[in-house]
Amino acid sequence: MALVLNNITKVVRGVTHIKPTSLTLEKGHFNVLLGETGAGKTSLIKMMAGIDPIASGTVVMDGNDITKLNTQKRRISLVHQFFVNYPHMTVFDNIASPLRVAGMSKSEIEGRVGEAADILKLGPMLHRRPHELSGGQQQRCALARAIAKDSQAVFLDEPLANLDYKLREELRELLPELFADRGAVVVYATSEPEEALLLGGETALMVDGKVAQFGPTAEIYRAPSSLMAAQVFSDPPINHATVRKQGSAFHLGEVSWAAVGDAAGLTDGDYTVAIRPNHVLPNVSAEARVAVTGTVGVTELSGSESSAHFEFGDNGWVSLAHGTHPYSLGEDHTFYMNTDACLYFALDGNRVA
């Protein structure tokens, strides 16, 4: 069972919002759409749901072309970033609404609503109205409506974005099991790289209205195909700088390191090097040993990690390390790169090593 997009595009008043996009989204795992705000995640979901018109291309569900099929006739569910529940209906009626429309018997509706409410711990709230619920409960109600329905495809458009940290963690853990054996294609849009990694499955990296790369999430994280893809899939932003390869070494200003592996085979010339912040560390080690120095501007402590922004390369670099480190703002600090983790891109942005 799969949802297949063949070269679909979206054009609004002559402006192309979604460039030709082809994807095959399989059931049984999460299909993550990862991209920054405005990259086209919501547009793509609305096109798959039949809410927004498709300028060209086809959408195929289990071998049936559904491009022209009305949203009403598609068996789908959609959960928004904003908690969309019918305000004048109780939680029970909200969850039951698609089932009633489908003409299910009363006993079957009660069974399905009860099951969905149990999974999402909404049992005691079935007779309340949405405005009497907290944000997390409202979103659980919206999720319950999505799972109670017998859908072929479930679209989750940043469903956790408007929840606080704790609730987000709690629901994120719940989500994969929620949809595990529903037999539906699950599409999950998010702008947070970390969320994509936690959910696993397959990820489509969206940049500027098109899919830059698609494949197993961990693989895309390890081997981004372009600088753009690497940038989208990195938080804090990936560090990059222009380097010159000469002979068997890379030179970045005063700093040089040996070209190894695939990078060794590159012809001499200018490249862009990119390195994730967690490979630029404040302490020297066996892996991280190429020193770079810059003035520390901003430091942040989040959870058990501390990051330091320092002046280096094209846009300033970030170091992300476990534990706390004594940085003095405005002073030079030396950081150590693990050059084995460097990614190399041609100046047009395509990855070469």
């Binding site: 749901a49 809410i51 009305n70 949203t71 009403q72 006739k73 068996r75 789908i76 569910s77 959609l78 928004h80 904003f82 969309v84 019918y86 004048h88 209906m89 609404s97 698609p98 429309v101 489908a102 409506r145 329905k149």
Partner: protein
Amino acid sequence: MKTENQKAWFFVLPVLLLVAFNALIPMMTVVNYSVQETFGDNLFFWEGLTWFEQILRSDRFHAALGRQFMFTALILIIEIPLGIAIALSMPRKGFWVPVCLVLMALPMLIPWNVVGAMWNIFALPDIGLMGYFLNHVLGINYDMTQDPVAAWVTIITMDVWHWTSLVVLLAYAGLVSIPDAYYQAAKIDGASNWSVFRFIQLPKMKNVLTIAILLRFMDSFNIYTEPFVLTGGGPGNSTTLLSIDLVKIALGQFDLGPAAAMSLIYFAITLLVSWLFYTLMTKDDLN
């Protein structure tokens, strides 16, 4: 420390004075008339509840009250669904929105006696556009000055023309306040257009429709100017609504006592029906 004093009353005072002058004092004058017999030279005799009893037992009052309820019921039955239907078919965005809104508001901007006069001329059988068309082109025998049914059709049509816009504008305001997300959610649920109307649009319009029905009830129940100019209550008494009858008693016959008693009964009925309706419609929200 919380200061407790009675200063707040001074802030209420201006409103109290205003209400006293424009409502309480005139109304107390009416109460005064309603319990006395009035002669020239300002002679008054105490009558107690005689006038109230007389009005409540009067066939003429019952007939006028019956016509009044029929008029109000008919215009509500027509204007509310028609108003909702027009609001539903109006565009939600784009160039035509202001055009539609202005067109809708136009009838309401015309002075009431002008509306009556317009429809009077419009409906005249030999020279009026509508009257002529009905009689001489379609061959329908239509003369509102002779035929009570024609007179009723004309005043109802006139009121629908004049006031449906109010319902349209209120219903439209309710409709545009519904976020797109609800329509999307309903589409994804697989809901038909009827379900969308029944379960999303209608509940969202409930509050504005309550106001619309309340306003149209009160206005139509107290209607005077338009039917007075259009039919003058005739032919016979067939379109003599409560307010027209009241004016006939008060200014035609100069029976100030019965007219005052009738005014108070009239007021009490309007108030009671409005209160009942409003209480019933908002009962759910209070729980």
